[in-house]
Amino acid sequence: MEPVIEFKDFSFKYRAQTQPTLRDINLSIMPGEKVLIVGPSGSGKSTLAHCINGLVPFSYPGDMTGTLRVGGKNPADIGLFGVSRIVGTVLQDTDGQFIGLTVAEDLAFSLENNLVPQEEMFAKVDEVAELVDVKKLLENAPRELSGGQKQRVSMGGVMVDDVEILLFDEPLANLDPATGKRAIALIDEIRKNRKSTIIIIEHRLEDALYRDVDRIIVDTVPDELLVTNVLAGQGIREPLYITALKHAGCNILAADRPQHIETMKLDNYKQPLREWFNKAERKKEKNKSVSALKVEDLYFSYVSGRPVLQHIHFDIKKGEMVSIVGKNGAGKSTLSNLICGFYKPGKGRILLNGEDVASLSIKERGEKIGLVMQSPNQMISKPMIYEEVALGLTVRGVPEEEIKERVYETLKICGLYPFRNWPVSALSFGQKKRVSIASILVMNPEVLILDEPTAGQDYRHYTEIMEFLKDINENLGITVIMITHDMHLMLEYTDRAIVIADGNLIADDTPARILTNEIIADKAYLKKTSLYDLAVSCQIDNPSEFVDRFIAYERQQRELRLREKSTKISGF
């Protein structure tokens, strides 16, 4: 069989850059294969995708060496339109990919461009809508859809073309865990029904592995890959149950099929895991008592009688690190808008350090409560990194010298110091995200609210940012609130999670207890953690305690590693 995609000694350098982004790539993908390509941000994953779908070199020019065949043809010969008949791309930015005014039109977009007669289009759109389960939404506008629905429309929009290859660029980046799980299942179904070749580019490995894949590229089969330590070395998060087994000193064998916790053979691992559990230390309870941000019976609605939030009640203590979780559209963003003063609550009070903030203006609140938006592009207004980070201080009239000192310090903490004289545009998305966090941190807020702080970041950058947030939380005493649907984040870095579903607060508890409670996890569109499944399968009677101990152990390990690193540095 001929490979459907073949890279031979392939290198590519963007015109704007000094170093090639892809170097000596040799890769063959066979028809019908389902391949997962993993790698940290900036590793060239997206560039590889652009080479496959023709955007490189047609939209992003640069220098290419070696050979590349897509569907047996040289993309340079058949042009972008030629490639697009072979490869269907689902972009990470499903909103940008949504072109039509309604779902039906968007599904039909490619057909329209290919001069398909209207009658035929109706049939085809119906068929595809059925396939990706958006049949009921055909007349809806994009703003009426959730992220998951938009993504399904994107998938449908490329599948109407009967392409051989479906390319997914970070399909999980903007979805909550439950929706992400559904997307992965849908991709798998499509593959089974259509026999298409599937290429998924993703760094959330555990989630992407929810359904079988044939191959993971850092080039091995999944079961073998999982037993090695390659992933951690590459800055990719291995599934948590694998990590737990490794902590327990188990030597995992590929023969036990570790790809899915549900089907993995655990017989040989039960005993060591239980022993480890009994030995492992309990999590230390931190005692914090001074209230930082208190919300009392908050109520908000756009249209009277249809509350977006109601009976919201919680008390976040000074120095806590808390996550606010719930599915897209549950009311999390509305809550942060209320706290920052962008909206006025219909009922209830918000207290900062025990004082009602109702009378404070947005700007006055902004000095105490820093808000980092989800997309850095919503915040960055200066072309240069330094100016951007300095902006908040500049408008507050801080002296030049102090600005410089504080900006440099913040940039160093955020790992951006080497780029301080760069234009923002030269940075990757993840780096821009760090710039936007830096631009708030530089003002030393008391409470920091971050909307999806780790969206679109790989494990290495995720760890860096979260360690950094933890650092300022512990050392500067800043209270950190994160709005997220990243379960790793809530488990590993927060001691408390507030769960919102359909405008109501349904839980306020430790993440370990929430993620081992099926009812709550379901309601909030979270997933149970795989650690829970592992604990249950190994007959550990208190799964949430197991999760707690795992996290405590992880934190301890991480601290040891960090300390090691810092002594190494000071030893020089």
Partner: protein, 275 residues
């Protein structure tokens, strides 16, 4: 964000007309309304557009807030005309019938009142048709039908993208404004003009620059899905021109020609009741 006029699906024969029919009607209607100052025709047009407004089942709530804005602007303009040129009516109609003296050079004349009445009526010939056009025309079908009558699909699609993105851009703008306000950048207040422009820039720069990225993403996405591959394209939302469409277009053209002939028959675009 202010409420803006937008399409609402309803089942009236006006809704079912092709977008092009409504566009041709709207444009010719504008031309006639601009050209003529014949009060009789203007009054006929106001009455007729009110009828259309009624038939299209447009509710007052859909357009009320916008209507109030127009009224303010209208009053402002009418007063301005009087302040700048209290004898514009006399210049046009040739007579000067003083009703009462106000101050200085300002007399209230019957001619001026009549002229300004015409200006006001002119507004009212357009307003209901703008409402009708925006509220009854399905934007998706509109792009398709523009292409059907020979306008490049590129233009149609550009308008379609504009309509697709207006709500998104508005939402985005509000978000960015909030985030920047929290950082300490204020748009209102007693700041100097230059500072106001500066803080406006802090809010619109992220909006515009992220939109520039969006232009790249969207054009990539469109290109990946074959937009611009052929000289023509088909349309999912296309509607065939029906009997009613041809009928309305025909009647509109006849009306436009007749109205203009009637207006200019005496060599002047003004209807002069004073001679």
């Amino acid at each position: 964000m202010s409420k803006i006029l937008s399409y609402e699906e309803k089942d009236t024969w006006i809704h079912q007309l092709s977008g092009v029919t409504k566009l041709i009607f709207f444009l010719l209607w504008c031309v006639v309304s601009m050209m003529t100052y014949d009060t009789r025709i203007l009054i006929f047009m106001v009455l007729f557009s009110l009828v259309i407004f009624k038939i299209s089942k447009t509710r007052w709530e859909q357009v009320g807030s916008v209507f109030r804005v127009i009224m303010v602007f209208l009053i402002f303009n009418v007063v301005a005309i009087f302040l700048f040129s209290p004898d514009q009516g006399t210049r046009i109609y040739g007579t000067r019938t003083v009703l009462f003296h106000i101050a200085g050079p300002y007399d209230m004349t019957l001619e001026q009142l009549f002229y300004e009445l015409n200006v006001v009526i002119k507004y009212f010939t357009i307003i209901p048709t703008v409402f009708m056009f925006l509220v009854t025309t399905n934007p998706s079908e509109f792009a398709a039908s523009m292409n059907k009558v020979g306008i490049s699909y590129n233009v149609g699609y550009a308008i379609s993208i504009a309509l697709r993105y207006i709500p998104d851009v508005q939402g985005e703008f509000t978000k960015i404004k909030h985030a920047q306000e929290a950082r300490g950048i204020e748009m209102s207040g007693k700041a100097s003009l230059l500072n106001r422009i500066k803080s406006t820039s802090s809010i619109i720069f992220p909006l515009i620059f992220s939109s520039m990225d969006r232009i790249d993403t969207v054009s990539n996405a469109m290109e990946l899905r074959g937009f611009g591959k052929h000289k023509k394209r088909t349309w999912y939302m296309a509607k065939k021109m029906k009997k009613n469409d041809y009928l309305i277009i025909g009647l509109t053209v006849i009306f436009a020609v007749a109205a203009l002939v009637f207006t200019f028959a005496d060599g002047s675009r003004f209807y002069n009741p004073f001679i």
